[in-house]
């Protein structure tokens, strides 16, 4: 069952360049769904539109970002379908954000109000959704949640700056999921942490799924090596589009799209075959998103490029069970 569904979503940044309005197509005609019990890894290089897509998933659209078209649907645990794209910002904020869909932002160290204790921050959150909430109840709930996530309960009485990087990151996770949202989006949760702390944070995120605190998760990262440890499915994003999505093992061991292949090959790890062939990278730069090229956006960097690739954009087609790829190589002629 789908928890979160995006249908043909486009969101552009509006820019003024010398009095001329231009649109940066950060998210361009993306369709995606996240199922119940699934951790979806959203992978791509910097500037490919991952974070913008996470904003679209919540419909947290602020200028200069504009929602152009598409549908965003969230299915609640009680079966009711919420159409986020039809809702006003006020409604979303009061009834959906934090409660049905929540986010762990990139800058966890500074994501918590610095001059309040964690329990006050949690209290303000719960009170925003339930005006009758009492501080004692919230503290109890928070301490229980901290314990479930393997964090010491004294954190509730601390200020955010008294926590270390990993602690702060996990505390943000605990606060963001305090109301048991159906869907949690985590945006580069591990990029500022050392390798050991990364593991602990991953474990915390896995606990959220195991303990049914959240139903589904979208894990945004540029690091396939990290995301493969937690994601059940991976979607690869390139220049504002999803180019491939498949179960994690398929992506890692049998990537189809040439871009995915390039990404996998550029992983730096200690695996013997990698050591033998050396680290590879994808030559070239992603295209400008103001006037993206006609045809496949990866064509200029692709080693399998054909005539057709430069003229027509490849559709995202289904290949086998749960696999989708947008590449002319896999379209049957």
């Amino acid at each position: 069952m789908d928890r979160l569904t995006l249908k043909n979503v486009s969101a552009y940044y509006r820019q003024l360049i010398v009095n001329k309005e231009v649109y940066v197509r950060a998210v361009d005609d993306v369709s995606l769904s996240v199922k119940k019990g699934e951790v979806l890894g959203l992978v791509g290089e910097s500037g490919c539109g991952k974070t913008t897509l996470s904003k679209v998933m919540m419909m947290n659209i602020n200028p200069p970002l504009e929602f152009i078209k598409g549908e965003v649907q969230l299915t609640r645990r009680d079966g009711e379908v919420i159409r986020l794209h039809k809702m006003s910002r006020r409604l979303l904020k009061n009834f959906v954000w934090g409660k049905n869909i929540s986010i762990v932002p990139q800058e966890a160290m500074s994501a918590l109000m610095p001059t309040l204790k964690i329990k006050r921050i949690a209290y303000d959150l719960v009170r925003s959704h339930d005006p009758n909430a009492k501080l004692e109840d919230v503290v109890e709930r928070l301490e229980k949640r901290l314990e479930e996530l393997g964090l010491p309960d004294y954190i509730a009485d601390r200020y955010p700056f008294e926590l270390s990087g990993g602690m702060a990151q996990r505390t943000v996770i605990a606060v963001a999921t305090l109301l048991n949202p159906e869907v949690l989006i985590v945006d580069e949760p591990t990029s500022a942490l050392d390798v050991l702390t990364q593991r602990i944070v991953l474990k915390t995120l896995a606990d959220l799924m195991v303990k049914n605190i959240v139903d589904s998760m979208v894990f945004i990262t540029h690091d396939i090596a990290i995301v493969r440890q937690i994601a059940s499915r991976i979607a690869v994003m390139y220049a504002g589009k999803i180019v491939e999505s498949a179960p994690t093992e398929d992506i890692i061991f049998n990537p189809l799209h040439p871009y995915t292949k390039g990404l996998i090959e550029s992983i730096t790890s200690l695996e013997p075959e990698v050591r033998k062939r050396g680290v590879k990278y994808i030559p070239g730069q992603p295209p400008q998103l103001i006037n993206p090229p006609q045809g496949c956006r990866f064509a200029d960097r692709c080693s399998f490029v054909m005539e057709k690739c430069k003229k027509e954009e490849p559709p995202l087609i289904k290949i086998g069970e749960g696999r989708e790829v947008a590449c002319w190589l896999y379209v049957k002629r």
């Binding site: 986010i103 932002p105 994501a111 109000m113 001059t115 925003s128």
Partner: protein, 336 residues
């Protein structure tokens, strides 16, 4: 808490040194300017009615009385010794009245005028500025920027003169100056308090309005900076109410403003020389202006001695208030 105690001792030690350096400068500067209080007095007497001999005897007696015949460091030491035992000396320009009595008479008026003006303008200006910063791009923000810039750039003395002209001269609804009706004797009667309040309005407004403008401008910038910070965006995206977010912004951007208020309150004792003169308001500003104009060394010294002390003290207190209200600084000591 040991490092905190060490910190306090260091602070107080440097404060005392600063105080004495400031006192020495304050003591030397008026003496470096041509003319002294005795010359001023003698110049006032030498209209021809007194004989030159009597005048020179009189001058010598005054020079001895004010110790102007001694080297400056001896004068300074004597001044310090006496003033710390509570004797600030006799004012040279006020017919033998003691400096302490003069200050005691002028200080309350200045405090009554300046402390409320400072505090009220701080609250109003910061509140408006915070709303303006929070509602970026709104009509409210544009209006408050306009008001803030106009208010803060109005010369306060020009505003004072305009207020006098409009309300006291044209409309004749408020008195043009002084602190109370001169036909009344200061007392706690309703009549006197009413008269005081009527006289209070114009000087109060002339100080309040420009100060509000300044606070609006600085607070708007601070608040909009806080608004762009990650913790506000995160709280917003998990559904924390706008009312609460505004409180967050207000709380965190208020912290630097507390410093500003503390330092302003430290300067309160100097009075507002120009405002007090315009309104003929019997505060410290008028006293200080007279002391400087007549080279009244004892009065200058007395006023500055207290003024410097309060400014330094205000700075010290601000440091500690900051420690109390900002947990980031308060608890920094625990780990340091």
């Amino acid at each position: 808490m040991r490092p905190l105690i060490k910190y306090i001792i260091m602070k107080v030690f440097f404060l005392i040194i600063t105080y004495f350096v400031a006192l020495i400068i304050m003591f030397i500067l008026p003496r470096a300017v041509p003319g002294n209080p005795v010359q001023q007095l003698i110049a006032g007497l030498s209209t021809g009615a007194t004989s030159p001999e009597l005048l020179s005897q009189y001058e010598q007696a005054l020079v001895r009385a004010f110790e102007l015949d001694k080297p400056w460091h001896v004068q300074f030491l004597n001044f310090i010794m006496r003033s710390f035992s509570g004797d600030l000396g006799i004012s040279a320009s006020s017919y033998g009245e003691s400096v302490r009595a003069l200050i005691a008479r002028h200080l309350p008026w200045t405090l009554v005028l300046l402390v409320p003006a400072n505090i009220v303008s701080w609250f109003i200006g910061n509140y408006i500025g915070a709303i303006a910063g929070y509602k970026r791009g709104s009509a409210m923000e544009k209006a408050s920027i306009l008001v803030g810039i106009i208010f803060s750039q109005i010369p306060y003395y020009w505003l004072a003169m305009t207020l006098i002209y409009v309300f006291a001269i044209s409309l004749r609804i408020l008195p043009p100056g002084s602190a109370y009706d001169p036909t009344l004797k200061p007392s706690l009667t309703i009549e006197f308090v009413a008269s005081m309040l009527r006289h209070y309005i114009l000087p109060f407004l002339s100080l309040l309005i420009p100060a509000i403008g300044g606070w609006i401008i600085s607070m708007r910038v601070l608040a909009s900076m806080e608004l762009g910070s990650p913790y506000i965006q995160f709280s917003d995206s998990i559904g924390v109410r706008d009312k609460v977010l505004f409180k967050y912004v207000l709380r965190n951007s208020m912290l630097p403003q507390v410093t500003g208020l503390g330092i302003q309150l430290g300067f309160v004792l100097a009075g507002q020389i120009i405002t007090e003169q315009l309104f003929n308001y019997p505060g410290m500003g008028i006293l200080l202006a007279r002391a400087l104009g007549t080279r009244d060394y004892p009065l200058i010294q007395g006023v500055f001695m207290i003024l410097i002390a309060t400014i330094l003290l205000a700075n010290l207190i601000v440091d500690f208030i900051y420690v109390l209200i900002d947990p980031r600084i308060r608890l920094g000591y625990r780990t340091a």
